[in-house]
Structure formats: C-alpha cells, structure tokens
Symmetry: C2
Subunit: 101 residues, 2 copies
C-alpha cells in the first residue's frame, strides 16, 4: 500500500503543482481547470481517464461545460499519496496541451 | 429559444424517465447512474458527451469511480425544457446498453 503523505510532504509536493491546493476540511488536493469549451474540457477528461485507468487510480471530478473540478485523494490511505501527486502532474501535462497552465 | 416546462409538464415528463427526479431547491432534474466499474462509467460519459455536443446541450455531471451523478437544466430558460428531457432519455438509452436501467 502506498503511504499517506504528511502535511509537510503534501505542502512541499503542492509547490511544484501549478493550480493545485489543499481541500478545506478534507485531506485531499483539488484544482479547477477552465478550458475553451466543452470539446476541450471533455478532451482533457478523456485523456486523463485513460491515465487514471492505466494506473488504477481515479479522480473525483465534476464537469460543467468548459470547467472541470478535480479532487484527488487515496481512499485506502485516507489521505493524499504519491499516486495523487502523480495523477495531478499528469493532468497538468494534459491540460497544458490545451493551453491551460 | 426553447420553452421552460411548467411544474405539471415536468412531472409528467419525469413519469416516463426511469431513475430521474426533480432536484430539491432548484428547477432541474437529476439522476445517479451506478455502473460496474470506471471503464463502464466513463464509457457512458463518452457516449453521452457526443450526444450532448451534437445537440449543443450539456449536462452538469460528477464522476466518482463507477458512479455518475447528472443534473440537467437549461440555463437560458432558467428551468427544465424539452432539451433536458431529450438528453435524459438519450442518457437512459446509453446506460441501458451497460445494463443500467
């Protein structure tokens, strides 16, 4: 099982993750991505879904037209782990290809 | 512009829509779909996204692993319209192909 990050390790990892922040009242990290339109928002989700499925680590996310709100946490560890940081990084890389940084 | 349904017309349309209900505190309709796994949940979302984009009428939706929560309303009409009922029907038809009825 992958280990839950300490508050310090979480903060340190977030420093390198553009747009991500801690979720108030919950041990999780979150980012809101805003794209040009639904086509790009769902394009982002489709690519991220493939990464999530491949790594067997899935996001909680909400889509309203061009906006995608993502929350990442590792259920088994009751907190944020390296797997969340990895998925957040992959999502940032995908979003940047749509010009969202 | 497509016309907002009256409370009566909304209730009547919902009778034919398995799983859908009014959203408390908001003029919208909602359904929670529960699939077998993420593959099927995102497969459902992908097919529904194509329908939404084709009709230029998009859902608000949230996905957590195998669950997809959908809320439909027509922003321009500040309520539920025939376009929401149509999308709800299309979503039910797609979900039923995954065995979710």
């Amino acid at each position: 099982m992958v280990e839950r990050l300490s508050a310090e390790a979480r903060k340190s990892a977030l420093k390198g993750l553009s747009g991500w922040a801690e979720t108030p009242g919950r041990e999780a990290i979150a980012r809101i991505f805003v794209f040009k339109d639904f086509n790009e928002a769902f394009g982002f989700m489709s690519r991220a879904a493939l990464v999530a499925e491949k790594n067997d680590h899935h996001p909680e996310w909400r889509n309203v037209y061009k906006t995608v709100e993502v929350v990442l946490a590792t259920h088994d560890a009751s907190g944020v782990t390296a797997r969340d940081i990895e998925l957040a990084k992959a999502m940032n890389a995908i979003a940047s290809q749509f010009g969202v940084t």
